[in-house]
Amino acid sequence: MPVVHIPAPARDLTGGVLELEIEARSVGRLIAALDERFSGFGCRVLEDGELKPGLRVAIDGHISPMGVLARLEPDSQVHFLSAVGGG
């Protein structure tokens, strides 16, 4: 199952849980599952059904341009990160 790593500022919602396995085929479904388990998580990361502006999802170390539509593999490692702008 994909492993999602909970960002430090959101661990107040997960009771300190740092990471957990979630059965999901996309980032959107993963967030829905997290929100079901940890009420309020969805509000922290979503706006109008999309990732909040400035929030990115990294899958296996790579920032995905697909946001909630990004597909997950059974061994995917998922991180939520803030956007990075280069020069």
Binding site: P9, S64, P65, A83, G85, G87
Partner: protein
Amino acid sequence: MATVKERQFRVEPFPGGTAGNMRLVEVGAQRDYNVVGTRPIRHDGTDKVTGRARYGSDIKLSGLLYGYILRSPHAHARIISIDTTRAASVPGVHAVCTNADMPSATHRAGDLGEGIVDWYHLNQNVLASDKVLYTGHAVAAVAADSVHIAEEAARLIEVEYEILTPVLDVREARSADALVLNDDVRTDHQPAGEQGEVPTNVAKHFHYEKGNVASGFEQATVVLEREFTTETVHQGYIEPHTATALWTADGKITVWTSTQGAFLIRMQVAELLGVSISKVKVVPMEIGGGFGGKIAVYLQPVAAILSKLSGRPVKLDMDRTSVFEATGPTPGSYMKVKIGVDAEGMITAGEAEILFEAGAFPGSPINPGCMCVFACYDVPNGRVDGYDICVNKPRTNAYRAPGSTHVALATETMIDEICETLDICPLEFRMKNAAKAGTERIDGPVYPLIGMWETLKAVELSDHWQSSLEGPNRGRGIATGYWFNAGLNSVVNATVNEDGRVSLIEGSTDIGGSRPAVAMQLAEILGIAAEDVTPTVVDTDSIGHTDVTGGSRTCYATGLAAIKAAEDIQAQLCQRAALLWDVDAESVEYVDGAMLRGPAGQEIGFKELSGKLLQTGGPVVGRGSVNADKPGGAFGTHIADVEVDPDTGKVQVLRYTVVQDVGTAIHPSYVEGQLQGGAVQGIGWALNEAYHYGDDGRLHNGSFLDYRIPTCYDVPDIETIIVEVPNPGHRFGVRGVGEVPIVPPPAAIANAIYRATGVRFRSLPMSPPKVLHELLSRERASRESTVD
């Protein structure tokens, strides 16, 4: 599979380079390309050296008016009223505008791909209506028959201000009793945190944590905690900002401008002016430097409004003082960093608190600063807190590896100090602790294949590192740096001409040689010469959305688009050859040497087939569109030799070598140029560059006479060693190049100065007065202790 220790390397001249352009070669790991790795003459070279290249200020249009922007003389003030009556009545004036002529904006986030912008804040930065938040903040604009009339009229605009006390220091701005710049700003805790409820200057708080930090420090033999500061600095591009706009009666807007991203300018102009993006065409002109500072709009919307009001095209050019006062800078900072290392020289824990100036509005590169502070090393336990803090300075913008140079000063000088404490070679320490494939950063992601260790190996094998440095007041330092690089959207269209050459069009503005680098990737796939490809950067109506030339993404992502376009051409040519030979297209191969081969051994060359396209179905156009997501991060390690004049405090850089993993060097000369240019900018940041503000918030050094960037007299020839650890996310292994080289210089030079003088500098710039002050203070202390 060979372990790292069994791999064998050598450093040798990079073919075609000049003296001092080297590469690291791993024995038995050669790659064979025909075009990639060669040094063809740049396609835009003739126009550049003959003065034919067209920059933004070269635009001349029938009926052109010239604009002038009135700027605030105050760093912090409330605007009570603006009266433009007298200015509008000046003969030769055709339009006067203020923020009231723009559609009202609301607080919504705009995603610029490489960063986020609040549309209300951008609206207020372009033309202020409520408050001015820095000296030089734009307030109103005039268009007239000449720039002199426009300037004279602008001075007749009457602005009544309620002057407020400026807030210039991040620590002061963070305090609970600080005057708040923006009443609408609340602290946004990221990533995925909650938002604060009270007005504040602290716009964002980033928090990352890994492992058990307390336990990590308990395991340490040596724990250091140090504080650092850096000053506000500018990108220092030579070409000032410029924009010419024409708003026609049918509601279409054309903007000619100097920008790193025409599509991002289109998006911002459309949003701020309340029109559809399809009504806006942005024509990117040649660009005289950007380095991150030419992504946001300043003049473009104002020129468009003045054009709408006057019915004529309007040009706005900034003077140098306005460039310094109102654009650019990268933030000043305060950092407190703590590192623990065990007796074996292994890092056990790291902790950092980082405060960045956002400038007038939120948006400093504090997040990448947080993510980079320990990114070069395998740090098992860590905690990083970063704060984006508004102060009365220009709204900060990206500058080469935004945020990473600041934090490298802290981490890399502390590592030098730790190595001295533990009596460990600083190169050996870095090799032991280097991040590698599988290392988890403190912000979470795990590195894929990276080349940090290989850059250190190249340092070890380099002539520079192996040479001795003799003489008094001289010292050598090294430092390492990291940048993520970016992917994002790119489009390339390529048309095969009947003469066997290819016209390539792209949306990536060419800052540092990307035209040839992109053309070479297409040529490599097609098996033709780079000179047989003509690359052209086109306007936003002529190509699909292409993100900004920034984040070191263009050679990687637009290169991928070129590769896709080339593959599309190959597939179409196979169909044409199949038609000629009356065989199935699947049975035709595109083989090395730009040749197509049929199932019965038939052959036709690329050039010959190109001449038959119009008779076999029409022109062939290859299309490549990508949303790239595996840019591959990059690391660099620099070696600096300096000599410090004990009488003046002047630091002379004697020898400087840049070592960087670039994945694969498509055009080594441009790679070397990026490495050298970035290093020189970093040397300027280290030794001289700083905004000097008075207590009233007015900038005292807004010119290149007083804001001193390095010239060729200040730096030696910068030596380079290209390391090529291929990026698995690119067909040829390309990684971004342009940002990393600015990261290590301040730390490398600080470490070298320490070796030369025994004084540790934790504050930039290390300018002659500061260095001399420290040397004299130490001398005085030494005398006093002798007397005692």
